[in-house]
């Protein structure tokens, strides 16, 4: 009977939730946010190659202007200037991004800022063109030389980019988990408080075992959280299915997040539900839940500030903070498998203990109306 009642409580919770606008807004907001984060960079990056204007002056015997015109990223518009003054003017005025002065064997680049990619690119083209011209003059095939250079040049492997991306991904995942947990935690506490102060619980307790009421709510509201998280994951999965190159951390991080999210949500919801039963009026619920959400806030900020250090490892062993720190640490690759397994076990134990204590507190508190109760009132004796 407890099982059936629990199912019915869950069913009601979900059905009523589906009719609440605020919840839809939250879910849709998170979904859109996720879409934006996953797809926007792609869209922005895809707006084609950039453009640049280069002014060439002097005797272009080797065909520098023609070579520049063939570059396709950025597309270079080549203009010609009369002399040095004209080129300097154009660069100063911003009419050209860069100027090339050619005089016989020597060449000069007139630049605004010497450290741009364009400077390197144009310098390369100029050097290559004049070198090819000279090699040609010396009877060597420039194509052979080019091939030799290409074979000799080292492959380029950036080291830091990945880590940065992974960190960003972990931050975002954590932010989502954090927001969802805080919102749902307050929601269950006030839902229980409303039922108690509204006296619906009086009707229900005559029919439903108190633990079915509590756990039905926890599971029902928990499902809302999981569904929302699922919505957030959809764009990522779609992107992966399209063969996108996501930052490699995000997949594992999301999987871990799902596990710790469910455990952490269960823990927080059970505690918040039991606390909600202590109030006598709905307005008192805020004061009771704030300490709980503070723990979560503290866990969140502690994790983003030193989550990858040894202090972060400590957070992973505390069930109230591990749902924040572990997904992050997995995301940035800071922890060890042993740490994760121990953390998961501790979380499971904490949920079990909270379930036992929570149902005792709930059962005793929800029938005692009239004044706000303290934990000592219900657990004492």
């Amino acid at each position: 009977m407890t099982f059936r009642s629990t199912l019915l409580v869950i069913e009601r919770e979900l059905r009523e939730a589906a009719r609440r606008k605020g919840l839809w807004l939250l879910a849709i907001g998170m979904f859109l946010g996720s879409c934006a984060i996953v797809f926007l960079p792609d869209l922005l990056a895809d707006d084609g190659p950039g453009e640049a204007t280069v002014m060439v002056a002097g005797d272009d015997e080797v065909g520098v202007a023609a070579a520049l015109g063939e570059v396709d990223d950025p597309v270079i518009e080549v203009t010609s200037g009369d002399d040095r003054t004209a080129v300097v003017d154009a660069v100063e005025q911003g009419d050209a991004d860069l100027g090339v002065l050619l005089s016989g064997a020597s060449s000069t680049l007139i630049v605004d800022d010497p450290d741009t990619g364009l400077v390197d690119l144009v310098a390369g083209v100029v050097a290559e063109t004049s070198a090819a011209d000279r090699l040609d003059g010396a009877g060597i095939d420039p194509a052979e030389v080019e091939a030799a250079f290409a074979a000799a040049s080292p492959a380029i492997e950036p080291v830091d980019v990945e880590r940065g991306d992974r960190e960003a991904a972990a931050f975002i995942v954590m932010l989502v988990l954090y927001l969802l947990t805080v919102i749902l935690t307050s929601q269950i506490a006030s839902a229980v408080a409303v039922e108690k102060s509204n006296r619906v619980s009086e009707v229900l307790l005559a029919i439903v075992p108190p633990r079915a009421l509590l756990f039905g709510k926890v599971i029902g509201i928990g499902c809302i959280g999981v569904v929302t998280l699922g919505l957030v994951a959809v764009p990522v999965i779609v992107d992966l299915a399209r063969g996108a190159t996501l930052p490699s951390g995000i997949g594992v991080s999301m999987l871990a997040s799902a596990i710790w999210f469910v455990g952490g949500l269960a823990l927080y919801l059970i505690v918040a539900g039991a606390l909600g039963a202590l109030v006598s009026r709905q307005e008192e619920v805020g004061a009771l839940v704030v300490p709980l959400t503070m723990v979560l806030v503290a866990a969140y900020f502690a994790t983003i500030s030193f989550g990858d250090g040894p202090a972060g490892a400590v957070l992973s062993y505390i069930p109230f903070t591990s749902p924040m720190s572990v997904p992050y640490r997995i995301g940035v690759g800071a922890g060890s498998p042993v740490e994760y397994v121990v953390s998961a076990l501790l979380l499971v134990v904490a949920v079990a203990v909270a379930a036992r204590l929570g149902s005792v507190v709930f059962r005793r508190a929800v029938v005692r109306t009239g004044r706000r109760l303290s934990l000592r009132d219900v657990l004492g004796r």
Binding site: R12, E16, E195, V203, I207, P209, V367
Partner: protein, 302 residues
């Protein structure tokens, strides 16, 4: 089949609220659980429904200790009314009936039928928060009986009802009992429910002080009262074997001491004014309460 409460004890924070309460509710009867505020009526009902676990004593149904399965055949309207205000009337009733173990389709039929009988059929798709107070009261009653319980327990069902609503509720109660159901209701307004219950249990100080058929209790009582349709000045009755004189808009009611001759008292009144209508009456519920406890109900309130 009957509900029996045996030797129930309950204390809150060291204060004894129920001190060995016994109560029997046979099938087809309306039992009024009556007593002043704070007497422990609500506490007793919560214990009957297992909302509270009593310190001692037991609740029996059908000769056995009542369990969850038995309780699913009972319905309860608590004194503290409560509904999910945002839920729709029909959804709420169906959900409650299903909690009692009725399957979904049957629950919908029961809900339709009951809403029809309660005159709420056209509001069944509305959220409860959009109903008037009187309609919400009826939904509360519907919640207690949507699963067609054998035993219906109503805590202070008449409190705050207008006379039409009382009439309506009485009709529902009579229907329920006529169908062989059991019904217990509580009230602290003894005179209001005078005509509604065939059996009463008067509860005071945590104990049942008087229990039985109201008719028998009245006729067994030595006390009688003389009702006259005039305003009686108590000084007219100096030296007569009478108790209090209560005066209302319709006349006066003079409590007679045991063995007093009603005719003599009537003559004493008639020597001051004309009396066109009079009668000798058995004691009212509040008079029975006073006889049993030595206090007036109004004074006994906690």
């Amino acid at each position: 089949m009957s509900l029996e409460v045996r030797e129930v004890m309950q204390a809150f924070e060291g204060r004894r609220v129920l001190d060995g309460v016994d109560l029997t509710v046979p099938a087809g009867s309306v039992v009024g659980l009556l007593g002043p505020n704070g007497a422990g009526k609500t506490t007793l009902m919560r214990i009957v429904f297992g909302v509270l676990e009593p310190d001692a004593g037991e609740v029996r149904w059908d000769g056995r200790t009542a369990g969850d399965a038995d309780r699913r055949r009972w319905g309860y309207m608590p004194q503290e009314r409560g509904l999910y205000r945002e839920m729709r009337v029909h959804d709420h009733l169906v959900w409650i009936a299903r909690l009692y173990g009725v399957d979904r389709k049957q629950a919908a039929d029961y809900a339709d039928d009951l809403l029809d009988r309660l005159g709420l059929a056209d509001r069944s798709r509305d959220a409860i928060r959009d109903l008037s107070g009187g309609m919400a009261q009826r939904v509360q009653l519907a919640v207690a009986m949507v699963h067609r319980p054998e035993l219906l327990v109503l805590d202070e069902p008449f409190a705050g009802l207008d006379p039409a609503a009382v009439e309506f509720l009485m009709a529902v109660i009579r229907d329920h009992v006529a169908g062989g159901g059991h019904l217990v209701f509580s009230s602290h307004q003894l005179d209001l429910v005078e005509d509604l219950c065939d059996t009463i249990a008067l509860i005071d100080g945590g104990r049942v002080v008087l229990e039985g058929s109201l008719r028998e209790l009245r006729s067994a009582s030595e006390r009688r009262a003389l009702r006259v349709d005039v305003d009686v000045d108590p000084r007219w009755l100096d030296g007569q074997p009478v108790g209090d004189v209560a005066t209302t808009a319709s006349g006066s009611r003079v409590a007679l001491e045991p063995g007093a001759e009603a005719a003599t008292v009537l003559d004493a009144i008639r020597s001051h004014t004309d009396v066109s209508d009079f009668g000798v009456e058995a004691p009212s519920l509040s008079e029975l309460f006073r006889a049993a406890t030595g206090r007036a109900v109004e004074d006994a309130g906690a």
